[in-house]
Amino acid sequence: MATMSMGPAKIDRQISLPFSQAFKIALRNITIRLGRAMITGAGTMLGIAFLMSVFAAHLASLSARDVISAGQMQKQSWLVAMSLMVSVVGITNSMLMSVTERYKEIGTMKCLGALDNFIVKLFLIESGLLGFFGALFGAIIGALFVILTRFGSVFNGNFDWLRLLVYLGVCIVLGTVLSIIAALGPAMRASKMPPADAMRTEI
């Protein structure tokens, strides 16, 4: 009988949940779907590994005092541009999939009282985490690859380790930011859908 209130209802405004609550749910979404999350993260990882290996190879060439011609410089710039594009496409694709396959879940959450910004927050945290760890491992793998394949050039005493660390940081930030940007579009679109449409969506 608790629901028997009389007269017109007073409609309140739904509270925004704190970041920590969204983080908790996002983290659990990742850990529970770990296999799926790892595949998504692998997209980021491969792209960033490629990028990092290009950066590291450049450092190795400098260290070996190879004469870098203008043509080679151009080639390396191309490789960086290519690897960036590979990362962007790979990350966007993974994030698009991971959001669209959960439209129904998003619709359900909205039915239960989730605000649009909570849904967006949830997916951005999730993609940010995946992006961060994917990029972290990708950057390490890329750097290790070059270190192992060009052992002589790297350990000849001239290698600029500081710059390698800077590149490592750049790659990690880039991977995380790209992941978040890639998820932003689909997450916003999904969150703005009327729940009925979101639940009707079949993929």
């Binding site: 009988m1 608790a2 629901t3 017109p8 405004r13 509270i15 359900t108 239960l112």
Partner: protein
């Protein structure tokens, strides 16, 4: 096994407990039938007690037997309207063509009523259901929930309404697959800002109420369809809503389980006074409904009270009394 037990019972009078349990084990068919009538067969959530169940087993068409008969109706249905829909129209554009899902529907629903919206696929009943539940916006017309015009609400107020005032149940259950039964039920409470203690206490209570307290830590894919729907029902009640909207709640269930779910909904309707609105084409739903709304081709065909409906059901009702 059963024969052995019976023989033992015959020779030894000193083991009444064993005899009883063996008796129960040997008549699962009968008790199943009776339980489906009286209330919930699951986990000792007896609604009407054993005597009632045994009585119901005699009447073959127990469908007509509702827990309290018709006497209590006036006491639990309020006078005020919880839902009022005025001339709602909904037009979808599909491939450049306009499809009129609803062509002007008016409906008033009182607090505490159990309403079934019937109609074939494509009749617009699901669309109507979505409009009433604030899941979609009508192209034209207004929907009032508790005297509040839903079109006037912003996103925050609408979310609050969905969270606190309305509970949803779906044909495909729509539980969050990565969460346990208990977590699924506490999710709307998290959205409502309840404390962890409140969530756990209420969650457990609700799971007991729907008869699946023993499965609270199971994920949806470890539960049967009927159990999943029970979780969904518990979830819909998480924030004590005024209205529960059930879209084809028995659509993915077998006859017997569907009947149990219907009985459960009716029980909750009676006990907590929550208004229940279902979109369905399950005839079993007719009997527990206070009113039945037939929708066809985007319009309301007719609205009838249960006692006006269908001669066949009427005679069954008479047979029980």
């Amino acid at each position: 096994m059963a024969k052995q037990n019976d023989a033992m019972t015959g020779s030894k009078d000193g083991a009444p407990n064993a005899a009883e349990s063996s008796m129960e084990a040997t008549r699962p068919v009968q008790s199943g039938e009776a339980a489906g009538v009286g209330g919930l067969p699951v986990n000792g959530v007896p609604v009407n007690g054993a005597a009632n169940g045994a009585h119901a087993a005699d009447t073959t068409h127990a469908v007509a037997k509702s827990p309290n008969g018709t006497a209590g109706e006036d006491t639990y249905i309020g006078q005020e309207y919880i839902v009022r829909a005025k001339n709602i129209k909904k037009t979808f554009s599909v491939g450049g063509q306009e499809v009129h899902a609803l062509r002007g529907v008016d409906i008033d629903i009182r607090r505490g009523e159990y309403i079934s919206i019937m109609g074939p696929s494509g009749s617009g009943k699901s669309t109507l259901f979505n409009m009433i539940g604030g899941l979609d916006k009508p192209t034209d017309g207004t929907v009032f929930i508790d005297e509040v015009d839903m079109a006037q609400l912003d996103a925050f107020e609408l979310a609050w309404l969905r969270c606190r005032k309305i509970g949803y149940i779906f044909q495909t259950f729509n539980l969050i697959p990565v969460m346990t039964a208990l977590e699924n039920i506490t999710l709307p409470m998290i959205f409502a800002g309840a404390s962890l203690d409140e969530q756990m206490e209420k969650g457990r209570k609700l799971l007991e109420q729907v008869g699946i307290a023993h499965r609270m830590h199971n994920k949806p894919n470890q539960l049967s369809g009927g159990q999943q729907q029970r979780v969904a029902i518990a979830r819909s009640l998480a924030n004590d809503p005024a209205i529960v909207l059930a879209d084809e709640p028995t659509g993915n269930l077998d006859q017997k389980t569907g009947k149990e779910i219907i009985e459960l909904l009716k029980k909750l309707n009676r006990e907590s006074g929550v208004t229940i609105i279902t979109a369905t084409h399950d005839d079993k739903m007719l009997d527990v409904s206070d009113r039945i709304v037939w929708v066809s081709d985007g319009r309301i065909d007719k609205i009838k009270r249960r006692d006006e409906v269908d001669i066949k059901l009427g005679t069954l009702e008479g047979g029980v009394h």
